[in-house]
């Protein structure tokens, strides 16, 4: 996984999976990486092929982290299977979900 600072946003990319096996570690790693001057979190899901309810829990936790800084959690370019889970659990109404530029 990769981290990139873009203005006041921390972008996380190359996330292959987000599930019970790594959700807590992922959440804690992103939180530790969030410097004081960053308030938004962007997670590039374009390479994510596996998301389960534990992974959703990690995204909710990071959403709360960003909100506590008056920021947002944005999800970028989820693949159809991941988009299905977001819609099924109505998380697409909670998180900002954006397509990646072509």
């Amino acid at each position: 996984m990769k981290l990139e600072k873009l203005g006041d946003t921390l972008r996380v990319s190359a996330v292959k999976q987000l599930g019970a096996v790594n959700a807590t570690e992922f959440r804690d790693w992103v939180r530790r990486s969030l410097a004081d001057d960053l308030r938004n979190i962007e997670i590039d899901l374009s390479q994510t092929t596996y998301l389960d309810s534990c992974g959703l829990g990690a995204l909710v936790a990071l959403h709360k982290t960003a909100c506590n800084r008056a920021g947002k959690l944005r999800l970028l370019g989820p693949q159809p299977a991941v988009q299905q889970i977001l819609e099924l659990t109505r998380m697409d109404h909670i998180f900002e979900v954006l397509a990646l530029p072509a």
């Binding site: 999976q17 599930g19 019970a20 096996v21 596996y50 389960d52 309810s53 534990c54 959703l56 829990g57 990690a58 909710v60 936790a61 709360k64 299977a81 299905q84 889970i85 099924l88 659990t89 109505r90 998380m91 109404h93 909670i94």
Partner: protein, 143 residues
């Protein structure tokens, strides 16, 4: 292009999984391949995989008292009209809800049962001393 045919007789896949969440994605992949090989529609395969992942996660995360000794059993049956997936766990067992609702949006847990029930047509949970079995059923979409 390979053409798969719906089997006239049910095809069956039986697997055992270590009580370890890192094993879940590999099991889900094996079941995905099996269902595709027996001609199941992509959406049915995706739904069954999603439910299976959540069921296996629960079977591992709530296993007791000694998770190291409690393998999880997985059986997938692909029939002409229906797909059935059975997950046998060694948890204390849970009270399977008639309906599952989503938790508060800010909750970091509690979406697994909702996902299972949302993507499958019927679900049953049988508690037994030798292991509890979650039965997940889905009518096949005909392509």
């Amino acid at each position: 292009m390979t053409q798969f045919r719906t089997p006239a007789q049910p095809a069956r896949l039986c697997l055992r999984m270590a009580c370890d969440v890192s094993a879940v994605s590999g099991i889900a992949q094996q079941v995905r391949v099996f269902l595709k090989q027996t001609g199941c529609a992509e959406k049915d395969v995706n739904d069954c995989e999603l439910a299976l992942v959540e069921a296996c996660n629960n079977a591992v995360l709530y296993a007791a008292p000694d998770p190291a000794r409690c393998e999880v059993g997985i059986e997938a049956v692909s029939g002409p009209e229906q797909i059935e997936v059975r997950v046998t766990d060694h948890t204390p067992g849970l009270s399977w809800p008639e309906r599952a609702t989503l938790p508060e949006a800010t909750s970091e847990r509690g979406r697994g049962l909702f996902i299972i029930k949302a993507v499958m047509d019927s679900t049953h949970y049988h508690k037994a001393p030798e292991g509890n079995t979650l039965v997940l059923q889905k009518r096949r979409s005909h392509q």
